[in-house]
């Protein structure tokens, strides 16, 4: 094995065990036909899948810089296929297309790689069709299934795959990766780690300059609520809705480009309707996720403020500078039991929103409660 880590692999942090197994198979030229990457979203499964896809095609072990690796990273390599749910499920037609593709010799590379995201969403027909392919895998095909719920998959499919576990990255690990490998300041890394919840999202947040401004605004909510009371609850809830809408709008600008690019390239030709439909379904899911994430961040920031207020009052440790600056009269004078209560309410709202509760109502209810503090 080479002593230096090839470029595609050194981007993977905190997953030494998984990376070790995969690189050892590569080094001994014993890459399996099918892998199951198990672990939560955002811990490095997708980058590891890309690294593996690049390594079996790159002429230099997945160097990360050659034209082949670059194509894999841009997701435009003709032999690296990405399969994900269409409207909630991975359906049998998708697996049939995969089966045909898998039977063909590689187009431009050495191996065809099929990366299946959220493999637990394979419906039974699709799972059985995939099982048949995995039972007699074509010689130059590699299947990488990713899931956070292997128990929801057909056991027969699971047993055909080599399982690679990706460990959940805790707060401390994410902060460490952000500060040591991405040059993010400690405070900011801590915030991004808790607001993002996973490495991928934390990385995105820590590199978004507007995120800091938004955080400052979120941190001002508790004092504003305490000063203006119930009257400001509705308007602040509205403000959060607007923020979510704006995030979705920014996403839609990017999506529109994608649609335009697609239309320019393919026009209205026969057969494009299905591809357009797939794009729409994916865009809707992205929009939903973006909206969710905005709420998630707002709630994280709010919780950080109340925790900061508790810290300041009990005097056992200091909150980060941005939080400290946002602590005012309410933080200094309201009963600390109400802060604990607030934290519980915030957590309950987070759970409700993740279960598709009506965002407007849930936020108004939360802000009314927070407005009664102080």
């Amino acid at each position: 094995m080479k002593t230096t880590t090839p470029g595609m692999w050194n981007r993977l942090l905190g997953q030494e065990a998984a990376v070790g197994v995969l690189r050892a198979s590569l080094a001994s030229d014993r890459v399996g036909h099918a892998y199951l990457f198990v672990g939560p979203r955002g811990v490095g499964r997708a980058p590891a899948a890309l690294a593996l896809a690049a390594s079996v095609n790159c002429l230099d072990d997945g160097c990360g810089t050659c034209a082949i690796c670059a194509k894999v990273l841009r997701r435009s390599h003709a032999d690296v296929h990405h399969i994900s749910a269409e409207g909630g499920q991975i359906v049998v037609d998708q697996v049939r297309a995969l089966r045909e593709e898998a039977s063909r010799a590689p187009f431009e590379g050495r191996m065809k790689v099929f990366i299946i995201d959220e493999a637990e969403r394979l419906n039974p027909a699709a799972g059985n069709a995939l099982l048949k392919v995995l039972e007699e895998p074509p010689s130059s095909a590699l299947f990488i299934l990713m899931t956070d719920a292997p128990d929801d998959m057909l056991p027969t499919v699971v047993s055909r795959c080599r399982r690679i576990d990706f460990v959940p990255l805790g707060f401390t690990e994410i902060v460490e990766i952000l500060t040591q490998h991405h040059g993010v300041a400690e405070d900011r890394a801590a915030w991004a780690a808790s607001a993002g919840g996973n490495l991928a999202a934390a990385l995105r947040l820590s590199k978004d300059p507007a995120a800091e401004e938004r955080r400052e605004r979120h941190l001002s909510y508790p004092e504003r609520l305490a000063r203006a009371g119930l009257s400001s609850a509705i308007s602040l809830a509205g403000e959060v809705r607007v923020e979510a809408d704006e995030a979705v709008d920014r996403l839609k600008v990017r999506q529109k480009d994608e649609i335009k690019e697609h239309a320019e390239a393919y026009g209205e030709a026969r057969g494009t309707a299905a591809a357009r439909k797939r794009l729409e379904v994916r865009h809707k899911r992205e929009a939903r996720r973006t909206e969710q994430q905005t709420y998630e961040i707002v709630l994280t920031d709010l919780a950080a403020w109340y925790r900061g207020a508790l810290l300041a009052r009990h005097g056992d440790g200091a909150p980060d500078a941005q939080i400290e600056a946002a602590l005012g009269d309410c933080a200094l004078s309201a009963p600390t039991t109400s802060f604990v209560d607030a934290l519980e309410r915030i957590e309950a709202t987070r759970v409700a929103l993740s279960r598709n509760a009506q965002a407007g109502l849930a936020l108004e209810a939360l802000f009314m409660h927070l407005g009664s503090i102080g």
Binding site: R74, S76, S103, R104, A105, E108, S140, E264, Y266, G271
Partner: protein, 363 residues
Amino acid sequence: MKIRIERDQIADAVAWVLRSVGSKATLPVLGGILVEASDGKISFSGTDLEIAGRAEIEGAVEQSGRAVLPGRLLNDILRSLPEGSVTIEADAAQGKITGGAAEFTLRALPHEDFPAFQGLDAAVAGVLDAKQFLQAVGQVVRAASHDEARPILTGVLIEIADGKITLAATDSYRLSVRELPWSGPSEPIRRVVPARALAEAARAADAESEVKLSLGESQAGVEAGGRRLTTRLIEGEFPNWRQLVPEDQPNKLTIDRETFAESVRRVGILAQQGVPVRLELGEGGVKLTAGTQDLGDAVEHVAASYAGQPNLVAFNPTYLSEGIAAIEGAEVVLGVRDGLKPAVMRAPGDESFLYLLMPVRVS
């Protein structure tokens, strides 16, 4: 990149390449046509990842380079331009198309994303008579399977050995095999080409007199008149078809091809939904029958010469018809052993083509 070409030439080339440009593909760059220019040669390429089309034409290369332009738009624009010369000037960001007083500017697609087909430089290649090749492909592709559950059978096996090239296809109910003389390198090779793509490639060479067939490790190409279709091979083991073909058939019916075809078609009207056509072979010819209790019966005698023991065999009427249609010449020889063993059809005295057909078991 800057090139100048006659409109008719470029419009023809682009329209032809556009047929290979996919619409199902998810990669936007695949909706584009790659234009490459160097050393006085200008080429256009498109692909849907199954088939790739490449047309090369001559024109003035003022500046060499490459760019990917949206295929359908480019085609529409070229067709709308007045006759005369067309200029295309393009870089990574955009392409400018000028013809007469009209000027179009198109956003270019990222050319570094355009898939690099491995190429056929190292392929085994030889030249074939275009008409013969088209005929041979037409004879075998219909026996290929449409069932993607066994992808290997959706292909045509191409074998080169002993100065011959052999095309074979089977859907496991019938087998179609055609041999042609081969003048290319003679080391034996076996490749499986998707039947659909092979049929398309053979048709594309229709107007030419010769085609160049190239068989690479992962791709096959058919090239004629500056246009080349490349297709990916199917991986896997093609069944050993030779062991399916019986050594000799003790019973042989020699029959007028047209008459036989028409009779099968007529009687076949009552052989629907899995009902076979029965052939009672005996001295003086064949009696064809079909029918069910619900529908009724059809009977027809066809006079023909028959050598052997009286026999009853039954076939799927479509497979039988397609076999008769694939035979070249005025007569068909149908060889059978009995009602259970495969039957073989050929043209009398012609060893270059055979159509093997599994009988349907009847009581």
